[in-house]
């Protein structure tokens, strides 16, 4: 492990994941919830990217003089996961806009108070 990151990158994944999950659970503001959800999804993307990396490996392109390549499959999978994340964020934020139109607020507790009155 010559100057390699060791397991640090995985610790960062876990920290990001827990931060995201905490924000989703603890924050009442719907936009902040979406931000937390994004951080949570990004942590998984980082996990996949980490696992594809091979120490000392180069980009997976055939060329003379290079024998070790990183695994491209997890990286390619993450392109799809990024698209899914963008679609989820777009849909979630559009719901937030509609909730704001219907309730006049995007705070979860205030929405619950309004629903209780109906």
């Amino acid at each position: 492990m010559l100057g390699g990151p060791g397991l640090w990158n995985y610790w960062i994944v876990i920290i990001l994941m827990m931060t995201g999950l905490y924000v989703v659970i603890a924050k009442g503001n719907l936009v902040k919830k979406m931000i937390g959800l994004n951080v949570f999804q990004v942590s998984v993307i980082m996990l996949y990217v980490c696992m594809g990396k091979v120490d000392g490996g180069t980009a997976p392109i055939l060329a003379d003089g290079f024998e070790v390549y990183s695994n491209p499959v997890p990286h390619v999978l993450m392109l799809t996961a990024i698209v899914v994340g963008v679609a989820t964020t777009a849909l979630g934020l559009s719901f937030v806009v509609r909730i704001h139109e219907a309730y006049g607020t995007i705070e979860e507790d205030e929405i619950q108070d309004l629903e209780g009155e109906v």
């Binding site: 989703v24 949570f40 998984v44 999978l77 719901f95 909730i99």
Partner: protein, 492 residues
Amino acid sequence: MHPDLPALQIVVPLLSAPVCVLLRRPRLAWAVAMAATWFAFGNSIVILRHVLATGPISYALGGFPVPYGIELSIDSLNALVLVIVTGISAIVLIGSPRSLEREVPTERHYLVYTAYLLCMTGLLGMTITGDAFNIFVFLEISSLSSYSLISMGRTRRAVTSAFQYLVMGTIGGTFILLGIGLLYMVTGTLNLADMSQRLAMTGANRTVLVSLAFIVAGTSIKLAVFPLHIWLPNAYTFAPAIVTAFLAATATKVAFYILARFVYGVYGVQLAFGELRLDAVLLPLALLAMFVASTVAIFQRDVKRMLAYSSVAQVGYMLLGMSLANVDGLTGGIVHLFNHALIKSGLFLVMAVVLLSVGSTRLDDMRGLGRKLPLTMAAFVLGGLGLIGVPGTAGFVSKWYLILGALEDGLWPVAVLTLLSSLLAVVYVWRVIEVAYFQERPADAPEPEPAPASLLVPAWALLGASVWFGVFTSYSAGVAREAAEMLLGGGR
């Protein structure tokens, strides 16, 4: 059978969805959606018959050889799930123009049909594929379109319910992605059959354990396993009636299939139940769901919401069958998937009729409805009997197998609890019957409109089928048994 039918199963609904957007006219979009769903239904029946006659189908997408390319892999279990998903989608769609009229502005109908087709595509894709990452992609296709379908409900609470489901569903989907990633780390493959072979060699280590935990937790959110069910009652209550009938019968069922596929098909009984003791988690949760959700259902004042809680309880029965891990129990779980899909979509279609003719699905507004809408309420009674599990209905068949399975494992308290929890179903079904048949309609209540045939006929078709499969069990329970034996026989 034409060799490309497995691919057409997902391609046809997928390509029909943008056609609906281009056409825009509600009637035309509906016609396209009808054509696509009925084609998919016929196609899935052809596939099921082929699988039963000649064994599993493996289809290499794009001609790439199997462990490297994406494989569509169909055996008796997912062929059965394909028939359920397409069949329910096709039948529910018949009455949707009439039901949507009341709930969604006409200019947005084509969007409902588009999202409906995309959701079905996602569910079919999850079911048919033999590739782990593909499951995640199709899961998100079906989830995103089901969130937007739910948000089209007529009250503003539909949007908050959809948002709540989006947050929970995304966490669930990401958990599944994480679990698949960890499995890929251990096995180096994404093909499910390949994965199961290599896992059998590596055995249980911590990464495998964690991947199982993430996949079970993720699918449990989509399946609405008891403590993770909070999105479901709101989503089912506030979604348009047709959407509820469609999702209640398909989305949770496919999630159950995915869980069964991973637990039995990839991890295998030895790993999941022998070394990792998954049954010690699933069995108590299943029993809790049966009792707590049924009890909550009893206290609901909105019948649609009551049926939603009943769905959570019914998921408990399916999960019970899975955690028993013997042929009878697993047969019970799978056949309950089939039976409950018929019964619940039928009952939610009855609710669509009630909503159209009375304007609400609240229990108070259904007083005296038994005489005003005799055929509609008779359909409800028929479905209610199925939920309880009265002999002669489909619900009885699944509970019979579940009890057999519990006794086979020597778990007689579980068998007794299964019977006792059915009594709770008697209570909540009876509350509706009592209100509809034994109470007078209030003098000031508006006269209910006549029930539209386009919704009543599909409801009767589904509930009639549930009785048919309660009496002639060889087809549903026979296929379920074959699937259970295949799953327990060590994967595909």
